[in-house]
């Protein structure tokens, strides 16, 4: 573990430099421990693949005291982390909405149905949110779908796009240009504005995808738009 200053009001607790579930476990364990008993002056924590950024008010929380606290908590075994939830998200792989699934099928020399089955067969850890609001980076993509990202970005993808690229998977809440491939769309909103729990799916949770046809997708999408959580959660 290394402590790196990001200015005088943020400390990066780095557990490694790679994408690795064991490193992520340590990040999430420290995050949970700090959230459970936050020291006065802790502002917010940002878990990423390999590090936890701890934002703090240095006029309230001294850097040395924070470092000591982090050091003590980081030595705890990762198993202390609260059990993550598993979510099953409906996902439509119909090329009508899964705009790039045909391109991926060509790249990996399989049929569209095989790509959909491979993707839906995976169990994905939500490593981190980043890049954009409600943009979830997922590990656990089956090896057979490990395509590079695009050399140049494609035009904006639809909202709630299920994407792959660079050996990772993602769910992107807001429409924007992307270097990833859109292989599906989920009606589930990872960001639910105005709700008590605007981000129901937490970092460290496991995501599974369940194929639905275009009609089912459209029906679920309307229900989700009205505020319903259309993914299943198992604790």
């Amino acid at each position: 573990m290394r402590l790196l200053d990001a200015g005088e009001a943020a400390l990066v607790v780095e557990f490694g430099t790679t994408v690795d579930p064991a490193i992520s476990d340590r990040v999430l364990a420290l995050d949970a421990a700090l959230q459970a008993d936050p020291p006065a002056g802790l502002r917010e924590t940002v878990p990423t693949y390999r590090s936890l950024m701890v934002h703090y008010d240095p006029l309230v929380l001294d850097r040395a005291a924070l470092a000591e606290r982090v050091g003590a908590l980081a030595d705890r075994p990762a198993a202390a982390r609260a059990a993550a939830a598993t979510w099953t998200l409906p996902c439509c792989y119909d090329p009508v909405v899964a705009e790039d699934i045909g391109a991926v099928a060509d790249l990996v020399r399989r049929s569209v149905a095989e790509v959909a089955a491979l993707h839906a067969g995976g169990a994905y850890r939500l490593y981190m949110y980043g890049f954009a609001p409600g943009f979830a980076y997922l590990g656990g993509l089956p090896e057979a779908l490990a395509v590079s990202r695009r050399a140049t970005p494609r035009p904006p993808h639809p909202a709630n796009a299920v994407m792959i690229g660079g050996g990772l998977a993602a769910v992107a809440t807001f429409s924007m240009p992307t270097g990833w491939y859109v292989v599906g769309r989920t009606p589930m909103r990872l960001y639910r504005p105005g709700q008590d729990d605007p981000f129901p799916v937490g970092v460290g949770d496991v995501l599974r995808f369940e194929a639905v046809d275009a009609d089912t997708f459209a029906a679920l999408d309307r229900r989700a738009e009205a505020g319903e959580v259309v993914a299943r959660k198992e604790a």
Binding site: A6, E44, A132
Partner: protein, 340 residues
């Protein structure tokens, strides 16, 4: 009593509403937004007795033209040395005044500074989103309908109060900031650069380019080189982080930055110097100076103490001063200091 509005008669690009920022949601990829120059934003608010982080207008170089509707409205202005006029009469850039229906307050870029803050006596009544009214235009979040202000927008002001009867200058000497050096704490990824490249980063002059916006300040100069590549596995980004992408020109990530990123960050601008950097107009040459965390915290403490007390308002008697006096805050500051 009729409702009071602050109405936009004309607006350049990028004028937004900003409060203290949308904090606590970075873990979900939500950018904090908030003011580019937090010290000037807080000063404008505090001059009217508002909480330091209350919703205020952030006005970039494109300027704005405003009026009040429904009743007189107190406003305070602080930030860059913009050209400000109330019905054609110049007003110093650090000022409090009453804007009356039918009057026009115009703000134009001036000799220095890139952002001006306008706070109101009352509360700009727009809905909070995730606990904040800060506008993040790329996400369409917050502020007035999630976007920059436009001609025709009417901002409702709750509990609107008039300001001083005459134009007053704000006694806020902490805003007379020398552009000087921008202090940084090295890291978090300074180990991606050799010692001579870190020395070059600190010794070379850097020029602020016109490409900057609320997301980042782009610097031009002799590019830096990386010791071990320029891709890192994404980690968190603090405001003021100086990332160095492949081409080697540093980019300082500001209020509208992404929450995470994958370029090495050689250093981080300290909190008290973020506003000074943000206020640097395109073409400004600057240097960075490395300080330790303890020095940065001391500077932060001094800033907090300056803002803790009430901000005095000195009446400005126009006829006492030649017009060029009104064009420069340094001159205004000098006269105010002389009276104190």
């Amino acid at each position: 009593m009729s409702p009071v509005f602050l109405s936009v008669l004309a607006a350049g690009q990028g004028a937004t509403l900003q409060d203290h920022g949308r904090h606590g949601w970075l873990r979900y990829g939500i950018t904090a937004a908030g003011p580019m120059d937090p010290l000037a934003h807080a000063t404008a608010n505090r001059a009217l007795g508002n909480p330091a982080g209350a919703t205020a207008l952030e006005i970039p170089l494109g300027g704005i033209e405003l009026t009040a509707e429904g009743g007189p409205l107190g406003v305070a202005l602080a930030g860059g040395a913009f050209r400000i006029a109330l019905d054609g009469n110049l007003v110093p850039p650090g000022a409090a005044l009453t804007l009356r229906p039918g009057e026009s307050l115009t703000v134009r870029a001036g000799r220095a500074g890139a952002w001006l803050y306008l706070a109101v006596a009352g509360r700009i009544d727009v809905p909070a989103m995730l606990g904040s009214t800060a506008t993040h235009t790329r996400s369409g979040f917050g502020g007035f309908r999630g976007r920059a202000l436009q001609a025709g927008d009417r901002l409702p002001v709750a509990n609107a109060q008039p300001g001083p009867g005459e134009v007053c200058t704000l006694v806020a000497p902490w805003l007379d900031r020398d552009p000087g050096e921008i202090r940084v704490v090295l890291g978090p990824q300074d180990d991606y650069f050799s010692q001579d490249q870190i020395a070059a980063f600190l010794e070379r002059p850097w020029t602020v380019t016109a490409k900057g916006d609320r997301m980042a300040c782009f610097l031009d100069g002799t590019p830096l080189t990386h010791a071990k590549g320029y891709n890192i596995v994404s980690d968190g980004i603090a405001m003021g982080a100086i990332q160095v992408p492949g081409e080697g020109w540093p980019i300082v990530l500001m209020a509208d930055r992404q929450s995470t990123g994958g370029y090495p960050k050689i250093a981080t601008v300290i909190g008290p110097d973020l506003g000074r950097l943000a206020q640097a107009q395109p073409g400004t040459r600057l240097r960075f100076a490395a300080v330790g965390v303890a020095q940065a915290v001391a500077a932060r403490r001094a800033e907090a103490e300056a803002l803790a007390g009430p901000i005095a308002l000195d009446p400005l008697v126009r006829t006492d001063f030649p017009s060029e006096f009104l064009l420069g805050r340094n001159l205004v500051g000098g006269v105010v200091d002389g009276r104190a």
